[in-house]
Symmetry: C2
Subunit: 495 residues, 2 copies
Amino acid sequence: MTYIYPELNSSQINTLVNEINHYSLSNGLVMYKDLENLKNETAVAPVTLYPTILPKKSFEKAVAIQKAYNELYANILLDNTNWLDTVIKSISEFDADFTGKLYELYLKYQNDTTYKKQNKELGIFRNDFLLHENKDKTYDLKEVEFNTISVSFGALSTKVSALHSFLHESGYYKGEVKSSFDERNLEVPVSDSLANIASSIKYGVDTFETQQNIKNTIVLFVVQPNERNVFDQRLIEYELFNKYKIKAKRITIDEVEGKINKKQDSYLYYNDDVISLVYFRSCYSPNDFQSEKSWNNRLFLETSLAIKTPTLKMQLAGSKKIQQLVSSPEILEKFISDKETSNNLLNTFVKIHPLDDSAEGKYAKELINQNDSKVLDNFVLKPQREGGGNNIYKSDIYPFLKENIPDEKEWAGYILMELINAQPTKGNTILRNNQLYNVDILSELGIFGTVLIDTDTKKIEYNSYDGWLLRSKLSDSNEGGVAAGFGCVDSIALV
Amino acid sequence: MTYIYPELNSSQINTLVNEINHYSLSNGLVMYKDLENLKNETAVAPVTLYPTILPKKSFEKAVAIQKAYNELYANILLDNTNWLDTVIKSISEFDADFTGKLYELYLKYQNDTTYKKQNKELGIFRNDFLLHENKDKTYDLKEVEFNTISVSFGALSTKVSALHSFLHESGYYKGEVKSSFDERNLEVPVSDSLANIASSIKYGVDTFETQQNIKNTIVLFVVQPNERNVFDQRLIEYELFNKYKIKAKRITIDEVEGKINKKQDSYLYYNDDVISLVYFRSCYSPNDFQSEKSWNNRLFLETSLAIKTPTLKMQLAGSKKIQQLVSSPEILEKFISDKETSNNLLNTFVKIHPLDDSAEGKYAKELINQNDSKVLDNFVLKPQREGGGNNIYKSDIYPFLKENIPDEKEWAGYILMELINAQPTKGNTILRNNQLYNVDILSELGIFGTVLIDTDTKKIEYNSYDGWLLRSKLSDSNEGGVAAGFGCVDSIALV
């Protein structure tokens, strides 16, 4: 695929950058510049000058399959056979400090008889894909990971795609030489993720209010302290208020004790307001739990009648181990009975090997121990637990395991995943802190989706596709958190 | 009137300020911090912590009378008797450098036979009021001035009122002691000015496109270079694009030559796009015309088929002299025949004296020359021309005239206006560059309105009320431009 990005002269680039700055500052496409400066000054969020071009067919496939993914994870949670519990128990042994602690909380929650339990669970998910180039130069979107907690950039994705659409339609992408952006069939869509995520949260609030026959409840956003990406969260809150008059409060997990009360009715209260929904934009990494108090607070929220987005169990269902297991057709058919649907799902999976004592696990460990760079260059090693920044790539895999985890039994805390052959995009440019970076980028497509399940009736009550996100990073950087500082928010142009 | 503003403790104030910062940065309620830093960093616009409380009755009167004001100025422009031309000619003699130059351009435009003339004129107005306290402690809104060009803060007014509404409804105004904000009948409305001004501009575009049987025209924003308040303008542009797919371009008056072409059809072109509407957010003060080229460019725009918002004639109709003349019942009835309407208008006028050779003018000059502070303390001296920052108050009037304008004949360039007895608000707080100012403030209410007139048929084709604005300033500062640095955007709470 060779797409041609606009070649603008320096005066056109200056105009374009000025347009991006004005649009971003007018529309909340912003981020705090650094953690020391969380006051009233912000910078334009890191963005690309142009939306990145994607084949329309691949994009539409990813959108079309989101509800099947939602259904898969919903069915894993609704399953009667204890399958999920068994899997989580097994992996919690290899990640005692985090997965193990979450599992421990989950067991405490299950055994708690003091408070009434909520049978509704709301999941706001994001499924991340890379565009894989096949040997025959055709393309398929392949799943990187399925996120079940704290999925971010839903709001900024709407903003950056609206920015790119504005720039494209206003003619700011017209250079002196013809580019792909001059073609009539090129579309620059706007992601509805901000509106859709707010609408999903409203669905959760309505569900609680109907169930409890109560009105004017509020949403609790559990957030990290010193969040640079706070505007991505606040925009959802303002959307809830402006469209639905639903109010929200923000606290960190450590502020729960003192600010949140639970009464005999098992309701959570913020002052006099009943909390219908606890929406986690935190609690997904070990760093979010600074002390035993943090863990206790997390359990305190779980053992309440408020709907949790997500519950501990739903969060644990997002483990890489689950992703690895369902990539096997035999396990997948436990949860998705329709043959065509499961085939479609399988087409988006890459090979994922366990590193445990199963036959497949032994095979994969043998693969690593041979330390053949030609083989290992096709793999990435990922920990079971959530949160980026811990992946080990290619030739780093063998020395990493040997040095850090001498006991091969403990390798089971990781999975070995086939690397996706994603090709860098040439010709786009990153704008970051008013500096331009003309670099090759790699882009990851995220698809948002929501389910609301009832664990009593074992039914999926709501299943929706909620928009999309494109994040891009320097193609030579292996990790790409936008807020963390190596990547940027991007959007898509479809051909 | 004693209204009680919330008394928050320091922790509540910190929370409130954090909420204001997040909301403002997420929603474009921003302004460039200083002229040297017009890049990608902004600050929250100067705002009040609380909306300022106004009597609902007075506010509703100001809203209700806007269409009559629109009609008055439309009729002045549509008048067949040459009245306006004569008045402008007379005052242009006393303000040769600005009013005189505008009038000269207007004459050149009138005499130009090269290009086709546009018979539609769009006026986007703002009528500014102060709340006058009568001797019997009743209150009336009194008109300060009627603005016919470059009315600002329509967009930020929507944003700041939405902010105050959000804060009020979210409970951030609940202090430990009961305040007026705890009363059930207190309303914090949101101004529709952003949406309405964009809709008025769309009306102008549609009018041109229907008249010329043409599509996809664009709007030209003529702006000042280095505009700190640029976001107030861009938000209108984004509203036009998002709602109506109408595109706009921004240029300064000095950039017209080089960027704008005019062809035989008298259309204005920006590249290949026909400009249907020229929207002036500049050209209202002498500083906007740095050279003869600026004046030529202004004439170039006027002598085109594009609809001008406003035309030179409409701009000149906003002179203080016109405001003074229509405050006389005999002149007012020339333009407003309905007795009830003209009485309602007269009720909002204060006494305005000319300083010319008429009997009333002689009386007023005598008043000044007596230099009696008890008398002059009730007056403000204003130049005929547009733009703030040039008013002379109270005891400064006599020495100002004596020192600067020794020839009394030239005093006719000014009007002497009765000061409105506006009482300061105590208890509100200004937030500016992250600093809090607990000061008495004076608030000016602006009411937006639009007319579209046809100078051929002599008909008003469109007349609308377009929302409102409240600006507040330190009560001991006589001038209050927000962008200039002494004031802030505020909103209203109605009781």
